[in-house]
Each structure stands twice: as structure tokens, then as C-alpha cells.
Symmetry: C2
Subunit: 214 residues, 2 copies
């Protein structure tokens, strides 16, 4: 967590800590501005100077949750590792943090997941940012001759699907045993070794007649 640098930031951080405490105590209910004012012994009008609405308060709370993760993405993308190692670090470093948060307090972690479901737009802006950074790494890999015949657009879905248990924090409980960093290394190497434009084709001799309902 970055150290607050001004009185305004320090007070905002104090209000967000109060929000975190209320969520820990009460479960998946976004605290209102009134709740926070009461918890901090401040007037509502004073709290409104920092967060003009309950939604603004939640956005700041989510931004605080994502800040460390977003900083890692930026740092990895800006670094000079080879693309394969960049993609590994891109997922591994964030996964290690998410797993540590989960281990620290499983109930609070799952409560935050539920709040994220209720504030889908706020979470999606982080997911969009992650996709943007991942596309940057994949573009570097293509420039290096990886993923022969594939475009960035055609890579995004398969890569996101294959790393899902390392990326989606809601899957942490279910894949706690198998989603290790060693297995992430295997997944990333498998992607780099095996993903190319020949892969979308079924064997010619086999017509499977399968399609999805929608």
C-alpha cells in the first residue's frame, strides 16, 4: 500500500480503512457515507468532501484493492524480460498477492469477491486494463516470432481461458491445491510452445457435428 502523501490523502485512507473494517464486520454490504462518518466520528458533510457518494466511496475502496496489482502489471510490462518470462511474472506476481490475501482472511476475501460482483463496472475497468497490458506482452512475443500465424486478437481468448485459475480470484478456493506457481510455469510454457495458427483446425478426417446451443 503506498504511503499517503498529503493530509487529504491520509484522511481519505483513514476513511477507506473504516470502510474495510465495516465490511470485515458486516459482510458483503457496501458501507454508506453515513456509516463511515459514524465510524470515524466525522460529520457526513466532511466525509462528502472526500467521497461525494456511496458509489464514489466503493470505487476508491476498489481502487485501493487493485492498486498494488495494477502497479505490478505496469512494472512487468515496462521491464525488459523476454516476453515468455514477462507473461509468467504478469500472472505469477499478482496471483501470489491474491493468494496471500485469501490466506490471510478467507471470509473477508470472499466478501470482497461478492462486493465485486455487485459493482461489476468497477471490476471490469481493472479487467480491461489487465487485457490491455496482456495484449502488450503478446504483441512483443509475436514480434519475437512466438505464436506463429496468430494475431493478438486471436490470442487473447485462448490465453485468458488457459490461465483462468491463476487470474480469476474467485477460483482461488477451488484450485487451491493445483494452482501452484510450478503449474503456472507449465501452463505459460505450454502456451508458448504449443499455441499457433494450426491449432484452430480439427483433423480433416473427423467431423464432430458439435455445436453450442447459442
Amino acid at each position: 500500500m503506498a504511503r499517503p502523501q498529503t493530509d487529504h490523502e491520509a484522511t481519505a485512507e483513514k476513511l477507506l480503512e473504516a470502510a474495510e473494517q465495516l465490511i470485515r464486520e458486516r459482510g458483503p454490504v457496501s458501507p454508506s457515507v453515513t456509516d463511515i462518518a459514524n465510524a470515524c466520528g466525522m460529520s457526513q458533510s466532511n466525509v462528502y468532501r472526500f467521497f461525494p457518494s456511496k458509489e464514489a466511496l466503493f470505487e476508491a475502496f476498489a481502487e485501493r484493492w487493485f492498486r498494488e496489482l495494477d502497479d505490478i502489471m505496469e512494472e512487468v510490462v515496462a521491464g525488459d524480460l523476454p516476453p515468455r518470462e514477462k507473461l509468467y511474472q504478469f500472472f505469477a506476481r499478482r496471483f501470489a498477492i491474491k493468494r496471500a490475501r485469501y490466506e490471510e482472511d478467507r471470509d473477508y476475501f470472499m466478501t470482497c469477491m461478492m462486493l465485486g460482483d455487485e459493482h461489476h463496472d468497477v471490476v471490469m475497468s481493472h479487467v480491461d486494463l489487465a487485457d490491455h497490458y496482456m495484449a502488450t506482452i503478446l504483441a512483443e512475443a509475436i514480434t519475437d516470432g512466438e505464436f506463429p500465424g496468430m494475431t493478438i486478437d486471436s490470442l487473447m481468448a485462448p490465453v485468458n481461458l488457459m490461465v483462468a485459475p491463476f487470474c480469476d480470484p474467485k477460483l482461488i478456493p477451488q484450485y487451491e491445491g493445483s494452482a501452484t506457481l510450478d503449474n503456472l510455469r507449465i501452463v505459460i510454457n505450454t502456451l508458448f510452445n504449443g499455441l499457433n495458427s494450426q491449432n484452430a483446425e480439427a483433423p480433416e478426417a473427423i467431423d464432430t457435428h458439435l455445436k453450442l446451443a447459442s
Copy 2:
């Protein structure tokens, strides 16, 4: 759904249909034997002849849910397709059915997922069976020279991780857009092309110092 073949089986099926109807109406609460007796105009003691407990009733309900999926696994494994196509069909045919059930009635589908969470053991026996069948296909692939240097045990976790959005029905809503059969084909081909015993190793020059909290 297989056609009931005896009067006993026909009545059991009628009771399970009543259970399904109650779950559709009331959400994620397992119906009791009393509920089913009332819904079917039968005495409790008569229902007990078919299902001696609420848990036995739920087990039969789950078995009915999994029957078609388990039959597909057995059929694919017993067939004579090449291992790569077998693994594709193993996931694709079941995924198509799960997606169709989801499309047909999303609320009921998610209700069944919640009931599955509450009856973890019943679901796990199906998951264990799926792992057994998958291991059989992977063993055939290894015999054919696929996955050089890998053992069945070392393959299970990476394969399960990489196909998670096609395998775990709870992930259907989230990956509805990207989990297509074309993308499953890409994932399976990537696995076969790229997964080998070299993949577990980090590049020698890079020591990442990462580890998980637990």
C-alpha cells in the same frame, strides 16, 4: 435421459421429477421426503420405499443430472478415436450439454450448482470418475508418444487447470463469450503440441524468487 424400464423405476423417476419441480419453484433447498410425498400425493412410507432419506433422494437426483454426462465419458473413452480427438470430445460433448442446460433455464442451472456445493461428496464422486476417464485418455496419448517425458500424474493438474472454463459448470456464465468449441479445440491442440517435461523449468538465467503464502 434413459427410459425407465420397470414400474419401480418409473415411480422413482416421477418422484425425481417432482423434486426437480420443487427445486425450480423454491430455489436451492433440497426437498424433503415429506415435500415429495405431498407433491406426488403419495404416503411418506411409500416414498421411503424408493428413497430412505433426504440424502438418498438428493443422491438419486444428482445421479440423474450426471447420468448423461457420465455415459458420454464412458462412450468417448471406449471409442477408437485418436487420443487428441478423444480428449477434445471428452470435454466438448459434455460442455455442449452443460451449456444447453444453462441456456434452457439459467436460474435453475445456478440453483443446481448451489445444491452441488452443499452436497460436495456427491459431486466429488463424479469429479473423481471424470479424472479416472481423463487419466485413461492421457495414458493412451503417452503410449502414442504424446507429452514427451510426462507421467499421467504430472499431466492431470496442468490439463485440468487449462480446460477449467470448459469443465467446471459454475464458470459457464463468466466465460459464456469466450468458451466456444473453437477455443476448446485450440486449447486441446495447444496442450498436445506444447505440454512436455521441459515445461516445468524456469529459464536458467531468471530466478524469480516468487512463492505462494501457503
